[in-house]
């Protein structure tokens, strides 16, 4: 039950911080507005914090374990990392950050997903105002840019799935011999990654005139739904289907079983996410390719960027824009490298160089 104890302790601290912050707030706001933000040289030993949804989700668990790995690389115990858990509430996210800024007197290196895009601006402004350093991932509005905040808004990383999905689509279309029918099973129709992954397939199809996109249906990231949709596709198109493009691994599992029920074993399939089970299926050549976005590295490097900017290892304002706003990594897993990938990323976690900030990233963010 130690996690409950931990949670209570954490809540107690953040409540105390909140009270302190409220007390500080009145004076602090007046003072900072006079000074127009705290300008300071490097912070020698900043508090490092990760603000995120919660740890029960495997994706966020990976992100945070990356943050802890970075902390340990500094020779500190992983408990040194402060966890601000927003449980999906933007309000809690903002109030926690403000409380921690007061407690640390702005000596803070913060890595954060602000829960929704509009919340990024107040968070970044609060951190910049207090003289702290912040790196964000996933959520921010298109008009908010790190370079508008000097050094304090260090970086923003997000992932675009369109390019990688296009590349897996090419692998699929090549495996089909460049002709025949392909079906797409997508995520929840309104989800951004679902839209991007379908668009990736459509982009690739432009170069394959002999391949027809027979149908694209949402399977809601759900194995059972994917199973049923694939069955219905088999009725409608039967032997016309020569390949299946899945929006993620959980969908691919359902598709594989729908095919298995019909005794179809050699259908080319590609998916996305690089879950351990999918990597295993890639190694067995049941899936031709999947894409791994390396959340562990993402979580570590986001904390590392904020930390190193804070202690003055590099000066963000002297970096090019491509080092301030960039896409996260996308690692392709194909049958040839699945075994090596499994050994390197799943069976053991690689020792990353947390000062190689931009090596694995994927170019500057492009706005549409």
């Amino acid at each position: 039950m130690s996690f409950i104890k931990k949670f209570i302790e954490q809540e107690t601290i953040s409540r105390r911080n909140f009270l302190l912050a409220s007390a500080y707030g009145v004076g602090g706001v007046a003072a900072s507005s006079m000074l127009g933000g705290v300008a300071r040289a490097a912070i020698s030993d900043p508090t490092v914090a990760w603000s995120y949804r919660n740890r029960t989700n495997p994706y966020w668990n990976e992100i945070v374990s990356g943050g802890e790995a970075f902390i340990e690389s500094l020779g500190k115990p992983k408990e040194f990392l402060t966890h601000l858990i927003n449980e999906g509430s933007s309000e809690k996210s903002l109030s926690d950050v403000k409380a921690l800024l007061s407690k640390t007197n702005g000596e803070l290196a913060l890595a954060i997903d602000t829960n929704d895009a509009p919340n990024a601006r107040p968070i970044v402004e609060a951190v910049a105002q207090a003289g702290g350093y912040v790196s964000t991932i996933w959520n921010k509005t298109d008009d908010l840019h790190p370079w508008d905040f000097g050094d304090n808004y260090v970086s923003h990383m997000t992932w675009s799935d369109e390019g990688p999905a296009e590349q897996t689509a090419r692998i699929l279309l090549d495996a089909m011999g460049g002709k025949g029918g392909v079906v797409h099973l997508g995520g929840i129709a309104s989800n951004n990654p679902a839209i991007e992954r379908l668009q990736g397939l459509k982009n690739a199809l432009k170069d394959y005139p002999d391949v027809e996109l027979l149908a694209a249906e949402p399977a809601d990231w759900d194995t059972q739904k994917a199973n049923q949709v694939m069955s219905a596709f088999l009725t409608r198109y039967g032997d016309e289907i020569k390949g299946v493009h899945c929006a993620n691994d959980t969908i691919a599992y359902g598709v594989l079983e729908a095919l298995r029920a019909e005794g179809i074993e050699d259908m080319p399939i590609v998916s996305y996410d690089g879950n351990p089970q999918a990597v295993q299926l890639v190694a067995e050549k049941k899936i031709l390719a999947t894409v791994f976005t390396n959340p562990h590295w993402g979580g570590g490097i986001t904390a590392a960027l904020a930390y190193h900017a804070a202690i003055g290892t590099f000066k963000p304002s002297e970096e090019p824009n491509a080092h301030r706003e960039f896409y996260g990594p996308a690692v392709f897993v194909t049958p040839e490298d699945a075994a090596a990938f499994k050994a390197n990323y799943i069976d053991s976690v690689p020792n990353y160089d947390w000062k190689d900030f931009w090596g694995p990233t994927n170019g500057q963010i492009a706005y549409k």
Binding site: A215, T223, Q224, S231, R236, G238, E257, R260, A261
Partner: protein
């Protein structure tokens, strides 16, 4: 008298007529819909849902509602998968014991469900919904969010082995449908469900232990949820917290569409079979005729309302709550 008889007969057979009309409609739109292989596909997607829906049928006949199926199915699936793998991982070993274990777990969850409802006097709607969340949470605790693969060829023959074009799981579902029918018509418990649903006060005044019937009803439902869980695992070879997802909507909808009234006392397992088939024919048919994904949910909702309008006898009730 003649007209009354006709009306009653019509209402009795309305769900089946709706089903036949739907099949003919989809077949006319896309001839490939009307093939043995597609009926087998509809059978595969219906089998687990049918088990869950039969479970909740008994509860609805009593005039209660059970919304715990998603949690119960997940727990049963996960416990089954862990036990199955721990005891050898193939039906040819002692791992077959995981099958009755899963049914036992379902019964226990149903028992707790019924006791919370009856003893704490919490409406079945709330008690079962809450127990469902507990179940989902417990399944998550057991798996830590991971999925458990059950790869035993013998167990997976539920899906892969076919007799007369239909996989074994369809026959298993049929067997349990007959068991459900037997309980409904040939046992005291089954008839008591109707007594409670038709008029609880009257049943109580006649000396029936209504609380006992309720608790047993929830236990029985739990066992059928467990069978549904086993077939769901058999279908995709994976047990996870999400195994139970969507069963609530499909099962409740199926029961009502099949003509079992939510106010209790009317309907039965055959109605539920027709209801499950209606929902799955609609789901399958919409994809088969190529209806765009974004209108499917809306069309499903409309068809469900239409099916309920056609297949329930609403003249016998003065108001609906």
């Amino acid at each position: 008298m003649g007209s009354v008889l006709t009306r009653n007969v019509l209402i009795k057979w309305a769900p089946l007529i709706v089903l036949i009309v739907l099949v003919l409609f989809f077949a006319a739109m896309e001839p490939r819909f009307f093939s043995l292989r597609n009926f087998a596909r509809i059978g595969i997607s219906s089998a687990p849902a049918l088990m869950v829906a039969i479970g909740v049928t008994f509860i609805i006949i009593m005039g209660s509602i059970d919304l715990s199926m998603e949690g119960t199915v997940s727990v049963c699936a996960v416990v089954f998968a862990f036990a199955f793998i721990a005891m050898g991982g193939t039906l040819a070993s002692f791992a077959w014991l995981a099958l009755p274990l899963a049914l036992l777990v379902g019964a226990v969850v149903g028992l707790v469900n019924g006791m919370v409802h009856v003893w704490l006097k919490i409406p079945s709607f709330m008690a079962s919904l809450a127990m469902g969340f507990v179940g989902t949470g417990f399944a998550l605790l057991l798996t830590g969010g991971d999925r458990v693969r059950v790869q035993d060829e013998l167990f997976r023959s539920l899906l892969t082995e076919r007799w007369f074009g239909f996989p074994i799981m369809c026959y298993v579902a049929l067997l349990f449908l007959l068991i459900g029918w037997f309980i409904q018509t040939r046992t005291t418990l089954g008839r008591n469900f109707y007594a409670v649903g038709g008029g609880e006060e009257l049943a109580h005044a006649s000396g029936l232990n209504v609380n006992r019937v309720r608790i047993l009803g929830f236990m029985l439902a739990g066992v059928f949820y467990a069978v549904g869980a086993l077939l769901a695992v058999g279908r995709i070879g994976i047990a996870e917290t999400a195994t139970g997802s969507n069963f609530m909507f499909v099962s409740i909808t199926s029961v009502v569409v099949g003509g079992t009234a939510l106010w209790g006392g009317i309907g039965g397992v055959w109605n539920t079979l027709i209801g499950v088939l209606i929902v799955n024919v609609i789901n399958n048919g919409m994809v088969v005729i190529g209806l765009p994904g974004y209108v499917q949910d809306g069309v499903l909702g409309l068809l469900v309302i239409l099916a309920v309008v056609l297949s329930t006898d609403r003249k016998s009730v003065t108001f609906v709550k």
